[in-house]
């Protein structure tokens, strides 16, 4: 990049803990550098212009899921968003909607995810007698392991929840992240839960039957997880389970 340009950042500012503070959009100017990401830009704004600016980054490599925010109308990971992408040099940053706001661009996705995990019991429920760790492990079909990893790539960034109008309208809706994780455990041969057990947690209005297929999850997931396919799969599976139960 030979001539650098000046970027204009419009950043949502609000400190809910500061008495009398009100949400506002604040403008910052910054010289663009080669290969600049929103991560680099925000840190420079904080260090050089406004030390009170709040935002969250951890790995800055698109791995940890900390830094999701709405960038020019699209919820995504800020650390791997190159500023060069925006040809007019205007970048508007909003915090992820649908989560507790800590301040400015920082939202409490961690709390949301932990509560979701507790509510949906998002951990492996192994069969009663676990395999002895001193002995050769139990085999697993190589394909199954590969598929499990595919579904496990979710980084809990919260983008799917913020991109989902259903989740925005109904606080109790589990969102794509909840369903993706259920789908992951449902697929896992080591998990002892039956389809009926999963039906308890997501066979409801707040679960898969509450999903309106708006596909905000599918279109915005930074890990390109197959939300559309998995939710459709769960919907069919849960629906069939229902028939099984009624005949029982």
């Amino acid at each position: 990049m030979s001539n650098s340009r000046t970027l204009t950042f419009n950043i949502f500012r609000y400190d809910p803990q500061l008495p009398g503070d009100a949400p506002a959009m604040v403008q910052y100017q910054l010289e663009e550098t080669a290969g600049m990401t929103v991560f680099i830009a925000l840190n420079r704004i904080r260090a050089e212009q406004d030390p009170s600016l709040q935002f969250d980054f951890v790995c800055r490599a698109g791995i940890c899921g900390s830094c999701a925010m709405v960038i020019n109308g699209l919820p995504t990971l800020a650390c791997r968003t190159l500023t060069a992408k925006y040809s007019d040099g205007n970048i508007t940053l909003m915090p992820l909607p649908g989560f507790e706001l800590i301040g400015d661009l920082s939202v409490n996705t961690g709390k949301f995810m932990r509560e979701l995990a507790e509510r949906l019991k998002l951990w492996l429920h192994p069969a009663a007698d676990q395999h002895d760790i001193h002995l050769i492990e139990q085999p697993m079909a190589p394909d199954e392991a590969a598929k499990l990893y595919e579904l496990e790539r979710c980084v809990e960034c919260g983008v799917c929840v913020s991109a989902c109008a259903t989740a925005q309208m109904r606080d109790t809706f589990v969102g794509a992240v909840g369903m993706m994780k259920i789908a992951r455990f449902e697929l896992d041969s080591r998990d002892a839960r039956s389809a009926e057990d999963f039906y308890h947690v997501i066979g409801t209005q707040d679960g898969v039957f509450g999903c309106m297929t708006l596909l905000g999850c599918q279109d915005n997931c930074p890990k390109d997880l197959p939300h559309m396919q998995q939710i459709a799969y769960l919907r069919r599976k849960m629906s069939r389970t229902l028939i099984g139960i009624s005949h029982a």
């Binding site: 709405v70 020019n72 109308g73 699209l74 919820p75 909003m94 909607p97 913020s162 991109a163 109008a165 925005q168 309208m169 109904r170 009926e196 039906y199 308890h200 066979g203 409801t204 209005q205 679960g207 039957f209 509450g210 999903c211 309106m212 297929t213 708006l214 596909l215 905000g216 279109d219 915005n220 559309m228 396919q229 459709a232 799969y233 919907r235 069919r236 849960m238 629906s239 229902l242 139960i245 009624s246």
Partner: protein
């Protein structure tokens, strides 16, 4: 250690209480598909007027069971019965789809907020689907009640209704609403249940159908208006 307590599932009536969610979801989709497919046929039958009064007369005659009546005219009761059935399907669809509506002010605000904040095409489309659905809560019953109370269908009778009874206003609103709602609905049902994941193809098809059906419907409406304009009251039913 003490933990939170939960009511046992049996107490809460599992699985009965859960079952409703699945039933509702299936019923909504099934009734929607039924209504959507019906709409496709309906609009095509309707537009047979574009091929002339005689063509429309034949279509109405056949659909009213004219083949099986000695006079060959068919019985309007069939229209009535069919309307009644469609009303039922519609009620099922409305009742189940009502779950999706932002019924509280907070939900409405959240939806507006979302649409304002996040650029997402499918959400916007759904917003239109929801709005047209809402509109149809009022428009479709009017149409169906007319068919129940006034079931006579024919090139002249229908045209008179459109022109002289000012039903063009109803159909002018209903046509785009129902077409948009139904085509987006069919697209959504397909991806929802995983019938097809070719989203872009499906959406393109839905949009083409939308355009086609609206043009088709609008042309027939104009045809009725033209016919209705030429009629003098009281109307004499068309006979070929």
């Amino acid at each position: 250690m003490l933990t939170k307590y939960h009511l046992g599932e049996r107490w809460l009536g599992f699985p009965r209480s859960y079952r409703w969610a699945a039933v509702a979801d299936r019923l909504q989709s099934a009734s929607g598909v039924l209504l959507g497919l019906f709409l496709l046929l309906h609009l095509h039958f309707e537009s047979s007027i574009l091929l002339g009064k005689a063509a429309f007369y034949r279509v109405a005659q056949v659909l009213e069971g004219g083949l099986f009546t000695p006079s060959g005219h068919g019985v309007p009761l069939i229209t009535q019965l069919f309307s009644l059935v469609m009303l039922l399907v519609l009620m099922v669809h409305a009742a189940t789809a009502l779950r999706r509506f932002p019924v509280q002010l907070g939900q409405w605000r959240a939806l507006r907020n979302h649409l304002h904040l996040i650029k997402h095409n499918d959400s916007k489309l759904w917003f239109w689907q929801m709005l047209t659905g809402f509109l149809m809560f009022f428009l479709v019953p009017m149409h169906l009640v007319t068919m129940l109370t006034n079931p006579e269908i024919g090139p002249h009778l229908s045209a008179a209704r459109v022109y002289h009874d000012n039903y063009w206003l109803l159909y002018g609103l209903l046509l785009p609403a129902v077409v948009v709602h139904a085509m987006l609905g069919l697209y959504r049902v397909a991806v929802k249940w995983g019938i097809s994941f070719q989203r872009h193809g499906l959406l393109l098809l839905a949009k083409i159908l939308m355009g086609y059906l609206i043009i088709l419907g609008a042309c027939s409406l104009v045809a009725y208006l033209v016919i209705g304009h030429s009629l003098t009251l009281p109307v004499t039913p068309f006979t070929p």
